[in-house]
């Protein structure tokens, strides 16, 4: 068991004929992911990495039975690619693309919410269930199958955490990169719910960042709904406020968004907090031990 993806997930790549799309499609194939095709408008009938290329997502879905897509379409067209995947009824849409205009995503969000599709990202490393299915750009070999659910707003920080877990002998059920953009399809809360209901996930490690209020909301959710051990790290405790992105985000949430506010909320929810990024794996171990 795992969340979102497993060995039966059938994946297409939107933007497969691009250099990056092709490179990572091959990476996913090498990992053992069931890649079944790709989409690039106007390139239908071609083949990339031994996979058929289609003009539209709908065609690709009909021909391959795909239920997940990995999007590498350039930023100016990526929002449209997400809409196309949702319209074609693809269940899991993972947008890797970095640099999509925020208002493009603001237009996409209501459509995603009104559909049955789940969007992960954009600007994220993807999703991996170790040993079964990798959709995205993360290095597969650092992961080990196991029972820790991992989620994060940042790519390389996730790799760091996964590496620490693997070295401490804790494998992962599924690792989810939520994405670093202001507007992303899935929040910590969405994924916490999935991990809580997954019998194969025994503990949860989350990496947040300063800005916004997603971490505070996650802490409140954990307090209310999550019975599994949870550990967390917040990046950016030392970032000077004047230089912060999303400076005005704090206005809406009533002064939230600082690292201090986030850490306090996490601790209040009984979450084990890592003080140093070197301590993420160890914090998870402490969280498990505390629960006995």
């Amino acid at each position: 068991m795992s969340i979102l993806v497993d060995r039966d997930t059938r994946v297409i790549c939107q933007g497969i004929t691009g250099k990056v799309g092709e490179f990572h499609t091959r990476g996913c194939l090498d990992y053992g992911t069931r890649m079944v095709g790709g989409v690039t408008p106007g390139k239908g009938g071609d083949a990339v990495a031994g996979l058929p290329v289609f003009d539209t997502v709908a065609e690709a879905r009909d021909a391959t039975g795909a239920n997940a897509t990995m999007i590498f379409v350039p930023p100016a067209f990526a929002a449209d690619a997400i809409l196309e995947a949702v319209a074609a009824g693809i269940e899991l849409v993972i947008a890797i693309t970095e640099g999509i205009p925020v208002l493009d995503m603001a237009r996409v969000m209501p459509v995603v919410h009104a559909s049955k599709s789940r969007l992960i990202g954009p600007n994220c490393p993807g999703v991996i269930t170790p040993g079964e299915c990798k959709i995205g750009i993360m290095p597969g070999y650092i992961h080990t199958p196991g029972h820790v659910g991992v989620m994060s707003r940042s790519g390389t920080l996730t790799y760091e955490a996964v590496w620490q877990l693997t070295q401490l002998g804790h494998g992962q059920s599924t690792c989810v990169g939520l994405g670093g953009d202001p507007l992303v399809g899935s929040s910590f809360i969405d994924i916490l719910g999935l991990f809580q209901n997954d019998p194969d996930t025994h503990a949860i490690l989350m990496m947040g960042e300063i800005g916004g209020s997603a971490e505070e909301e996650a802490a409140a959710y954990v307090k209310e709904h999550v019975t599994k051990p949870v550990a967390a790290f917040i990046a950016g405790r030392t970032a000077p406020p004047g230089k912060r992105m999303g400076h005005a985000g704090a206005i809406i949430s009533g002064g939230k968004g600082t690292a201090e506010a986030k850490l306090a909320a996490l601790r209040d929810a009984g979450i084990e907090v890592a003080d140093s990024p070197a301590d993420m794996g160890a914090a998870l171990v402490r969280a498990i031990e505390r629960r006995g």
Binding site: A106, W163, A248, G249, S253, A278
Partner: protein, 394 residues
Amino acid sequence: MKIHEYQAKDLLRAAGVPVLAGRVATTPAEAAAAFTALGTPVCAVKAQIHAGGRGKGQVKGSGQRGVELAKSAADAERIAAGLLGKTLVTIQTGPEGQSVRRVFVESGCAIDRELYCAVLVDRRAGSPVLIASTAGGMDIEEVAARTPELILSEPFDPDRGLAGYQARLLAARLKLPTASWRHAETFFRRLCRAFVDLDASLVEVNPLVLTKDGTLVALDAKMTFDDNALYRHKDVAALRDEAEEEPAETRAAAAGLSYVKLNGTIGCLVNGAGLAMSTMDLVKYHGGEPANFLDVGGGADVKQVTEAFRIILSDKNVKAILVNIFGGIMRCTTIATALVEASKTVGFTVPLVVRLEGTEVEEGKKILASSGAAIITADGLTDAAKKVVAASKA
């Protein structure tokens, strides 16, 4: 991307949002001429820098404020002379301040009340939102923290824009006289439309003024833009004023690097924004002060890494450098080769601590070891942090 107040006002005026008449000046004589041309009894002479808090800010040396009122052309000339070419220190510039290259001479108006409004994207609502408050002219973060009930917000769909009733709702809650509601509706809806049409990331009007004759005017205006959308707004992109930006940050951006200068002594070179931020945290946790945030991205090449080192070393405060790479897509061999290359071409004047992990890590370490370059290698994050902090204090 940030722009100046006078540029923001030009954009808002073009979008039909009421602003006062004004002229930009680069010399005291131009400021005097602007006063005469505007023909109002009182003008505000405002320093134009990419930082807020100008009204309370002070010119280094003289203590003159960043915004002052002029009642004559001679007044305007004197105020402008006290600002142009001088350094203005505000709460947002840091103690070093920012050099004033232009002033904006703007006609006055009869103020009844000062309000606040802003448009930005709300992560939680997943949409743009118009925020307004009766607490105008104040530090809005403080208002939000102390009296959140004074902050009103109305989310809106980017394509439909702010609905008329939403604008009226805000007008009523801001306790504007009913005779001004029509003005408020026009003002708020056009402001939201401008935000969307220009792909702004923030439009902030503080203060928003209710004039004695019942109309609304943007007395100040601050606009920042979504860098990811600038490709479709060439006219906005042309408003960039590189002189206002940290030169090293501009240089980094040109090389495809993400760099933010800080005030510490330990230079950081990291792949990935989250890991870069965490590396700064790590340095501080072990008693050091980061000199910068620098994310080389996922696919940096030798040229970019070399440029990254040049930028870090151009900061004279840097006493040691920490390289922290978790090789995923980026191979450790690539970064190791780049490090050796950079050490030859750039020439390191400070100790360099390197922590490599991930793809091709063993081969990468061999490249470093056999290069003969003066590199301190580290195993793990904690070891790296301790070594670089020690080196910076040696």
